[in-house]
């Protein structure tokens, strides 16, 4: 499948800022499931900084803007060819030990309810892959998809208690459940092509990857009750949403920030 991406993020400030710095993890991962045809990232009026590929295989690029800044616009235009690997992150080069993904974060804190959910979901199952699938299903059932009820800082425990949330909450809950059972898990950010069946989700998407010793990293998307396939574009990963964020930035000054995001994902008809 060939997917085109048009992703524009705009930060608006009501008072000019002295400057801004961005760290972008906004580039398609290199693995058997995707091949980048073209990919252009631009921060309007910004200066491109150094870029590198980190130990988790993500490409990161720094940008800076000199003040006065009243608007920061980050645009992504690209085309990626994807193939379905049934969620398996095959052919992905990384050096970080999976054990580094056992660490708890605020967003993935394991409440008693998270632990219970995880334990009940797997029951007597010993097989790691089976366990992972069961966790993903359990999370999807425990947290109904409903936009607007959670926010960027909602934790997995809070979303579970509430019983509603979006893909970020699903991913956090699944990560927390997996780690509670001693399985390394991480947050993945990317894009998802809207399907015709109309399963509810956003084009800017997030899911979880769980480490299965005999296979490697495998993606699970509780929000869509599936493993990532050719409709998904993988960007980067981290311990939680904050770490894996495609765009991290700070602006210096007193202004208040307003964020606007548009993502258009289309399949190129062949």
């Amino acid at each position: 499948m060939i997917l085109t991406v048009n992703h524009v993020t705009t930060y608006d400030y009501d008072a000019p800022m002295r400057g801004a710095v961005q760290s972008l993890r906004l580039f398609p991962s290199r693995f058997d499931g995707q091949r980048t045809i073209r990919w252009d990232v631009e921060v309007q009026g910004g200066t491109r900084g150094g870029s590198f590929r980190d130990g988790a295989g993500d490409k990161v690029e720094g940008w800076s803007l000199r003040g006065p800044v009243s608007e920061v616009t980050i645009s992504v235009v690209g085309q990626v060819e994807t193939t379905d690997t049934a969620g398996v992150l095959r052919g992905h080069r990384e050096t970080v030990s999976p054990l580094a993904y056992m660490r708890e974060t605020t967003a993935t804190w394991q409440s008693a309810e998270i632990r219970d959910l995880a334990r009940d979901a797997v029951g007597e199952t010993e097989d790691a892959l089976d366990r992972a699938h069961r966790l993903s299903t359990a999370v999807a059932e425990a947290i109904a998809y409903r936009p607007g009820v959670t926010h960027a800082h909602t934790t997995a425990a809070e979303a579970l208690a509430q019983g509603e949330g979006v893909c970020q909450d699903h991913a956090h809950a699944l990560i927390a459940c997996a780690r509670a059972l001693g399985m390394p898990a991480r947050y993945v950010s990317g894009y998802l092509l809207a399907s015709e069946e109309g399963a509810p989700h956003e084009a800017a998407h997030a899911w979880a990857e769980i480490w299965i010793e005999s296979i490697g990293w495998i993606g699970f998307d509780p929000a869509n009750r599936c493993c990532p396939d050719a409709r998904f574009i993988r960007l980067g990963s981290g311990l939680d949403a904050r770490e894996a964020a495609p765009i991290k930035g700070v602006a210096q000054g007193e202004g208040t920030e307003r964020l606007e995001v548009t993502v258009a994902l289309e399949q190129v008809q062949q």
């Binding site: 900084g49 590198f52 980190d54 130990g55 030990s97 054990l99 580094a100």
Partner: protein, 470 residues
Amino acid sequence: MVDNFNEMYDGGKVREPYKRLEDWTNAMPTELRAMKQAEAEALFRRIGITFAVYGEGGDPDRLIPFDMFPRVFTQNEWRKLERGIKQRARALNAFLLDVYGRAEIVRAGKIPGRLVFQNEAFERAVTGFTPPRGIYSHIVGIDIVRTGPDEFFVLEDNCRTPSGVSYMLENREIMMRMFPQLFRENRIEPVDGYSDALRRTLASVAPAKCDREPNIGILTPGHYNSAYYEHSFLADLMGVELVEGQDLFVEGGFCWMRTTEGPKKLDVIYRRIDDAFLDPLCFRPDSMLGIPGLMDVYRSGGVSICSAPGAGVADDKAVYTFVPEMVRFYLGEEPLLNNVPTWQCAKPDDYKYVLENMADLVVKEVHGSGGYGMLVGPKSTTEQIEAFRQKVEAHPENYIAQPTLALSATPTFVQEGIAPRHVDLRPYCLVGEKIELVPGGLTRVALKEGSLVVNSSQGGGVKDTWVLAE
């Protein structure tokens, strides 16, 4: 503590290195000593070297007590120590390079992966990046205690930003000013080459992109920090910039310093702030001390940071146990300096032993420092031991324990005259293009009679440390 090794006296006999010091003290009348002590204090105060202790309140400009009685090593003793220290510094750096790369030591089963990768000090963000020359810890402070003529033990390693070297330099400076004749009568190895050596070390790890004499800066959290004096002192001695986060910014893949003549590129940052505060985009988002975007510049090779972010995983108290193994694994050598035997409360058998023998042990928090969060069993009341036991029971994995060592003592000026007091030693090993160690270090002394805690935050003082030339 009759059994403790006295570094000056062998029974009634004075040991070789202290021979001339005996004449010196005998010839010093009490009034002169009091005068000299006052003079030393005045000098320290004039220089401005003070030590503020976190969380203790009181006078933030309190002087750290200085004891005029030097601590002395023979050339022979020092050579052995030096070899052991350099060996350890090499092994610690090899370990860091390894665990942020392929982690062969974990694959080989020499250290549990959990201890490394789940360690709070392990920085996932720097995996896959190799700093210049593969060096992570450029200034390794190794805390050493002595228990006998030839018996030295490493208490802990400090791979991040060990402080106190300004005391090593100032103690010597003040001793030379007050007792010039002592330095004529004894042939003492100089320590004042430290600042040049540090500068050389930092310059030698400039990024590959730097094609001229590198610009070096010391990054300080500011003048409220307890070691601020040291930061400015070292910057002065080396003739490098002293900067705070707000003085720096990133642009175009480099780090820049704001100056009155416009931005100046900074190539090497000797940071005296913790990893968590370096860059709000990478670590703590609420950090006001750091430079947004610095880690991106670092990881793309635009600036060097000393010590490298993530270096702390090598000096963790639970990882400490494995340092002798690192020496064997990476260097293929036998460790020249011994570790203190350590029980890890995370292990069930060790945990049981520690709980049963708490009154005889020193119990420490794995992530604690500065003498806080530790229990010296033999010096504690039953209530104190009980209170500490509850902390250990709540989080066994956070504690380790060691036997109470019979620390050596050296003569120290006290109210009543001269008396033995327990000491440790922190030498500062520099790791860059070369591995260098100035002959000496910081001797800390527990001024309270019988006390084994030498930390300045807990009533410790400092001494000039001599290495005699041949």
